[in-house]
């Protein structure tokens, strides 16, 4: 029986869904290895302590909270030093991070500070003897590697959506701790957080993604994509590189080999050809819908449901129907 550690990601004072996924993952591993405790760490500006209940509800036995006015923005050096300190002070079997933009910055720093191995962007994990066995998509998801990782602890960053955050309420002990270094002394200084200009939900969090490509023909037609996203209510907007290159959408919206990797429950591809580099970022979505006027478009080869037609005509009708379906239950 060994304890497990989870880093709970937050941004702008709110927990990220991926943060709770890492708590759930730690709970699973602890339970599968004899029921050790889950220790969670959350870092932020004063006020972040109000989230401890939520963290405990997902299975943490101890919640370590770092509140500091200098930590309103993610400060890589301070968070890495603090996480390494906390992980080093316990004897954990494994420590979970998120394979999000923040987690992929943080986890390797912590691994190097502790001199331990990191399994990055894992989609599945299990303990086996003294190793942790993980699955990790390589070659843009066209090959899946199984890796055996040894040492204590093993650090893992979890691909967003690989584990579903689930309630497993505990009465957690809350410990307020100080950051391992003074945020004012960090060399890498976070200056500002620029919010995206799309919907309230972002690509890392949303269970549904409505994505648009060059088939939308003009930037103003992205309104149709946004309308469908808002009809779903739980959707974010994505885009292809063709569209971000032309400045129709911000670069942060790009999905694919050189953009974001996403795997939502539902991915709606609107006027997207399905170039291999785009598929690399979304092929693991659970359900894929494609709307394209070209019956031969490669996107139809991986779409569960295809509609052949003009996206400018189909989208308003689909938006209407989705809105009605949402209202009827």
């Amino acid at each position: 029986m060994a304890n497990t550690f989870a880093f709970v990601e937050s941004r702008g004072g709110d927990l990220r869904r991926v943060g709770l996924e890492s708590v759930t993952a730690a709970r699973h591993l602890a339970d599968a290895t004899g029921g050790g405790d889950v220790h969670a760490l959350v870092v932020g500006a004063p006020g972040i302590a109000s989230k401890t209940e939520m963290i405990a509800a997902h299975g943490a036995d101890v919640v370590e909270v770092v509140e500091h006015p200098g930590l309103a923005l993610y400060s890589p050096e301070v968070v890495a030093a603090t996480a390494a300190d906390r992980i080093g002070a316990g004897s954990y079997r494994a420590a979970f991070f998120s394979a999000s933009a923040q987690g992929r910055d943080l986890a390797p720093r912590v691994a190097a500070k502790l001199g331990v191995a990191l399994g990055a962007d894992v989609t599945a994990f299990e303990a086996s003897g003294d190793a942790i066995i993980v699955r990790h998509p390589v070659n843009t998801g066209k090959v899946i590697a199984t890796l055996s990782i040894t040492g204590t602890p093993v650090l893992l960053s979890l691909r967003p959506g690989a584990v579903t955050a689930a309630r497993a309420p505990r009465t957690a002990r809350v410990e307020a701790i100080a950051p391992a270094m003074d945020p004012a002394s960090a060399r890498v200084v976070p200056k500002e957080l620029l919010a995206g200009n799309t919907a309230k939900l972002d690509l890392g969090e949303a269970p549904v993604i409505v994505s648009g490509g060059r088939g939308l023909r003009a930037p103003e037609n992205f309104k149709l994509v946004e309308d469908l996203a808002s009809a779903f209510g739980n959707a974010a907007v994505g885009a292809t590189r063709a569209v971000t290159d032309d400045g129709w959408r911000p670069h942060t919206d790009q999905i694919g080999q050189t953009g974001r990797l996403v795997s939502p429950d539902l991915y709606v591809a609107c006027g997207i050809s399905g170039a291999i580099q785009h598929l690399a970022g979304m092929r693991t979505s659970k359900t894929i819908v494609a709307i394209n006027k070209d019956r031969e478009a490669p996107i139809f080869k991986i779409a569960d449901y295809g509609v052949v037609g003009d996206v400018l005509e189909v989208l308003p009708v689909l938006t209407d129907a989705v809105r009605k379906a949402k209202h009827s239950h």
Binding site: R11, R104, G141, P190, T252, G309, A325
Partner: protein
């Protein structure tokens, strides 16, 4: 400014990959290789920084067997000044073991800026750059999509999910490069000729223990898509029905 860029030789991602007979690696027969995507952006970023200053020196470094010399020559033909091969038969699966080799080489090299691609497109760990920075004890910004350097300080923008942030840092530093900075230039004929005469030093790599071992490689299950629900707006009711009853996402 003295800049180092750590680059990796990687398979062309358009390849239809096959698994080798041992079940633990990708079959490389007939596969084309090149500078890994993000590493190409990093080389381009270094060259542009040098050009903007009108002075400086760009060293490209790659760890691996002799096949990486081709990758290094390509970077030299783009305009890098010299190359270093850290020779080893196989690149370990443990990013920290790789970072240790690179940190040994970079340590004491007097570099102002040490660039990496955001992630190796094949192994997809996105770990080596930040790990190397930690081992060297220098500041690091990972996944920069914009980078400016002035008066010994850098400013970088990082793309987050649906947002971005901006960070400042002093040099020397490690920066890993995301898309958005610069598309890699194609080597000119003159560049290719010049590259032949540029120095390429080969040094043995001291690879330590790897605590990450590949036990299996496999192809993911094929998606059996291809169901066309219908044409035009008339297909919408059936699509919505399927999303509700079959996919259960609505």
């Amino acid at each position: 400014m003295k800049i180092a860029v750590c680059i990796k030789r990687a398979a062309d991602m358009e390849t239809r990959f096959k698994i080798a007979a041992n079940g633990m690696s990708v079959d490389e027969t007939g596969v084309k290789f090149d500078i890994a995507d993000f590493d190409g952006f990093a080389v381009e970023a270094a060259l542009q920084l040098k050009e903007r200053e009108g002075a400086g020196d760009v060293t490209v470094i790659s760890m691996g067997p002799d096949t990486v010399q081709e990758t290094l020559r390509k970077a030299l033909s783009m305009g890098a000044d010299k190359a270093v091969q850290l020779k080893t038969d196989a690149v370990p699966a443990d990013a920290l073991a790789i970072a240790r080799v690179l940190a040994d080489e970079l340590e004491g090299g007097g570099y102002d800026l040490m660039l990496f691609g955001r992630m190796a497109i094949d192994a997809a760990n996105q770990s080596v750059g930040p790990m190397t920075a930690e081992l060297l004890g220098v500041p690091c910004v990972s996944a920069a999509s914009q980078l400016t350097i002035a008066n010994g300080r850098g400013t970088a923008r990082r793309e987050l999910e649906g947002a971005a942030d901006v960070l400042e840092f002093p040099l020397p530093a490690v920066v890993t490069i995301d898309e958005g900075i610069a598309r890699p230039r194609l080597p000119s004929l003159k560049g290719i000729m010049a590259a032949k005469k540029k120095p390429l030093e080969v040094k043995p790599a001291q690879v330590g223990e790897s605590r990450v071992k590949v036990t299996k490689m496999e192809l993911p299950p094929e998606r059996t898509g291809g169901r066309i629900v219908g044409e035009g707006p008339a297909a919408v009711p059936e699509l919505v029905r399927l999303l509700q009853t079959e996919a259960k996402v609505l």
